[in-house]
Subunit: 256 residues, 2 copies
Amino acid sequence: MTYNGCMKTATRAEYELYYWPGIQGRGEFVRLSLEEGGADYVDVARLPETEGGGVRAIMRLLGDEREMHPGFAPPVLKCGPYTIAHTANILQFLGPRLGLVSQDDVQRVFTHELELTVTDFAAEIHDVHHPIASSLYYEDQKTEALRRAGFFVKERVPKFLGYFERVLGRNSESEGEYLVGRERSYVDLSMFQVMSGLEYAFPNALARLHDKIPLLRALRTRIAARPRIAAYLASERRVPFNEHGLFRKYPELDVG
Amino acid sequence: MTYNGCMKTATRAEYELYYWPGIQGRGEFVRLSLEEGGADYVDVARLPETEGGGVRAIMRLLGDEREMHPGFAPPVLKCGPYTIAHTANILQFLGPRLGLVSQDDVQRVFTHELELTVTDFAAEIHDVHHPIASSLYYEDQKTEALRRAGFFVKERVPKFLGYFERVLGRNSESEGEYLVGRERSYVDLSMFQVMSGLEYAFPNALARLHDKIPLLRALRTRIAARPRIAAYLASERRVPFNEHGLFRKYPELDVG
């Protein structure tokens, strides 16, 4: 079985994204790739319930007992009869289809490796405001969050961003303009999202690293200026940052 | 560029694994696949320093400024001139080479998706004993760990194991014997490791779910009985569980 049957029909978009409609969250990494790749897609849960959208659409998908390959959690991508979940897995799947990854095998593996490191970083960013349990409100784990934030800002942000800056600096093929190879790939889009989210949620932490991450800052600007990304960011399809997502503006956690 | 040049020479094993020598940790998922696949490999950091081993070997690799594709953290796999990091990425790379994944594209993507969910679960398991910072001792974040453990045992363990049990139950191709397709794949080996680790670290939590996860329990037994895995587990190559790794026996966290 291959993905040959994964194509659009007269009545259905080629790709259907299932993700929480009110936040950027992890789904945003997928949205950015779909947008930059010019994909024919529907953000299903952002449709009205009367048109088959809303959170109900996600619940219906996750609860479908006939699904042989159920996803653990959103985001989930439907593509014809196929169901593909987990952000980095979806991006690896979309990369070659949307021209968002190198044709070179070795570079593809490294692009995915970097995306998995973005995934780990995103989980740590989430857990700064939710160090005890995802099921608890932030307010009910604020004491622990304050303690975790100190280590996150002092140790983890410099470690992750320092790593990605180093990877950019070593990529002679694009003279540090992109993370892998000569062209922008999906992980550059993901890195744009991380930088944007950090500026929203941790502006002080980011300002302190300003001089150490010139290539990352330039990458962010470069991606934001790409025509399809710029159009997306200016559209209503881009959900604004808010305090229900991955990146939350809680100034008390952005410890100087 | 492809991986064609990735083969053994007279003086060097085909695969070199770089991982902390004193723990199972995330490296154990890679070790299990190398063992089951009958790979020609060296667990570099477990060699004496006089033979180029020890933690120094890892530091040398991570600090190599000529490396175009540096890994963020161990485990790192060297294969000829190539460097591949991140557990799930390494397993995806090894799968087809060691006969540890289906030949079917759709099943390969799902196998990787499941492995990424194992990765997320492993991170949550780690953070039960390290909810504030990896750089702090457990004893210095024990209060927060105790609070996190309650939610982990009550909410997260049933959610993750319930999911994998469901995936097994839906796999009619192997009548629930394996997670994907007809044969064992690397994610079955990883699930064996998760079940073994949970029994070591959270025996009460696991016992409470006993009746709800018959297929997972049978999978664990089935994998442990495979000749190469059984030989590995009985050998000195298998580092015993201990309180420096991912799965730690802290009875106070195994809340009933």
